[in-house]
Amino acid sequence: MAARDSLPAATRSICPHCGIGLDAQLIDRGGRVILRRECPEHGSIEALAYGDTARWFDAQRYERPGGAPVLRQTATDRGCPSDCGICPEHAQHTCLGIIEVNTGCNLDCPVCFADSGTGHQPDGYSLTLAQVESMLDAFVAAEGQPEAVQLSGGEPSIHPEILDMLGAAKARGIPLVMLNTNGIRLARDPRFAPALAALGIHVYLQFDGFDDATHLAIRGRRLQEIKQRALDRCAAAGVGVSLAAAVERDINEHELGAIVRFGVEHPAVNGVFFQPVTHTGRHPAFDPLDRLTNVEVIRALCEQLPEWFREDDFVAVPCCSPTCRSATYALYDGEDLVPLPRLVDIDRYLGFVTNRAVPDLDVAEALSGLFSASAAGGTERTAGRLECVACGVGLPDELRQVAARGFMIVAQDFQDEWTLDVGKLRKCCVGEIVPDGRIIPFCAYNAAGYRAQIRAELGAVKT
């Protein structure tokens, strides 16, 4: 994908009402970037693409040419986004593979892009271990050496074979294997965290805030005690955790700073992922022109923790489209917190449009691994890369203990039917692995009809 360097910029999108493909434009309006298109049947459709035009331009400098996968899976036929798996036009390999092992869940959250739940939906499914193994094999075939995979759902921890599935991912040599969970089984089953520890699994724990109102609005239940117990069990077992917060306008925007403060203090937690709510599946009513993007999330965090963060501490992650994900690493010693970009001129290493020589290739490679969708805080690889960066820029060895934790903070804006921008999608590096072995870019899976298709296919065949 060529870097976008001006607005308006032409792209393609879809109609959120009828799903047909449409020519679209990114435009600047009042200092924000809007995605605009016209459906012959449903008229003018607009959604906020990025909350700050200047920051949008700034992020484009991080548009790195994508890396090719080993294997492409489908042919170009109807055009993006209708030819997924990874088709010849896709501009990036898959940094993070996702396998949704089931649709069943032990919660019925009002917010769920996967539209999962406790009821026996007519189209629900639960994959077998053999299916998951063949999907992992397909991922390895496509990627060569995959970096990261996440087992998700539904609620994957209630799948009776989940530990075998996680073990199968580890057995294929994938360095980062994550379990995306609401934490209920972790809290209730004292054997679960130790079993995850034995396998070397990183937990991606839904964690939206602390207020009752937040829990009720997003999860439909007060889960604070369950989250706390799940985390304490992870800490006791030595399982690393990233907190994943679904963030919605007027619900929990005000809790972002408190989540980070809680995270840096808790021994199990090595990172926080803020994800603006994707308005697909189940979600509250929303205004597509007043939704949250990474800009609003980062701004709110900085307003809530001004002594620790400011907006330019967050770096546009270059493996995907640079407005999809912004990240930073924090050095925290129990008192003060210093964001890594204050200590390293990241732009000199990762700003791809600037015509400057990279000062140190090892540091550049380590930073590129750190600012990637395949990275998580607290892992050995993250610690090693931070050490390489620290050494390369002359930071003292004593910093190793502080940096080893590698606390990562991410804002990740996934797309939905309203915000789908084919220009971004072609660079997507988070892939939904489906049972026939295709890897479907995550946002296409959610927004371009693939989720419904796969669910219909799988739900129809009772395994």
Partner: protein
């Protein structure tokens, strides 16, 4: 390679004058804090200063308070200038000599230990006298400028890059002896520097402000001081880091208010 947190005791800035300043800037602690960029804007603003002053290929340049010689070497390498660097710090001069030798530029650059207020050079021997981020630290600025003026030929140039300050608006801590060596306490406004130059007979004084570069530099120092405070053993070392951090934060506030900044100043004489 192991690299430990440097000894922070040089950050004890209570005892003053020039000698201390030179020692401070050649200490490992300050080099580490500045991360190799010894003045705001680094090479980029040095290029800009050379442009503003109209330094020409092959000219004879005196670099006053040259530190470990980065600017002198840059001018020798890129503009084939013949440069003499002078600095009070003996260790800095040793490093500069070694760097010149490593860059095979000994033929064009020479480094000597010396005092800016008493330059041991003949009158009118240079085309340009250059001072980056050092005039602010000299106790007697008139005298330093008089010396620069004396050693430059009648139709020559002075090129100054320096911290600028509205001293009356700065908090007391930033006007203390401690802050003098950090280029703040005895800085002047760009207009004051300009009038000192005019008083010394210079005309066509051009000023360019680059406050953002100073902010970027102090910001990086602030972050490294926080790291130092995290890592230093409790007691004196950590106190040094904490005190310096306080000054850095006051400086950042002052920059934001517009009371502290950075400027490039060039002046010429049409000859007499």
């Amino acid at each position: 390679m192991t690299r430990s947190l440097p000894d922070l005791s040089p950050l004890d800035l209570e005892t003053d004058p020039k000698g201390c300043c030179a020692r401070l800037y050649e200490s490992d602690a300050v080099r580490w804090l500045l991360d190799g960029e010894l003045h705001p804007g680094g090479d980029r603003l040095t290029h800009r200063l050379a442009g503003l002053a109209g330094i020409e290929r092959g000219q004879r340049v005196l670099d006053i308070a040259c530190g470990s010689g980065a600017t002198a070497l840059l001018l020798a390498r890129e503009l084939e200038c013949e440069v003499v660097g002078v600095d009070l710090g003996t260790r800095a001069i040793e490093q500069a000599v070694a760097a010149a030798s490593a860059a095979a530029l000994e033929g064009r650059v020479r480094f000597v230990v010396g005092d800016a207020e008493e330059l041991r050079f003949a009158d009118a021997g240079f085309d340009v006298a250059l001072s980056e981020c050092s005039l602010c630290t000299f106790p007697d600025k008139r005298r330093a400028i008089a010396e620069m003026t004396r050693v430059v030929r009648p139709a020559g140039t002075v090129a100054i890059a320096d911290v600028t300050a509205d001293l009356n608006a700065l908090p007391a801590q930033l006007r203390s002896a401690a802050a003098r060596v950090a280029c703040v306490a005895d800085a002047r406004s760009a207009d004051e520097y300009a009038s000192l130059l005019r008083d010394a007979g210079w005309e066509n004084v051009a000023i360019e402000t680059h406050d953002d570069d100073l902010q970027g530099m102090v910001d990086r120092v602030e972050a490294r001081l926080r790291v130092a405070r995290m890592l230093a053993p409790p007691g004196e070392q950590r106190d040094r880091a904490a005190e310096a951090l306080l000054l850095a934060r006051m400086a950042l506030d002052a920059i934001v208010r517009g009371d502290l900044g950075y400027a490039l100043i060039a002046a010429r004489r049409t000859g007499c």
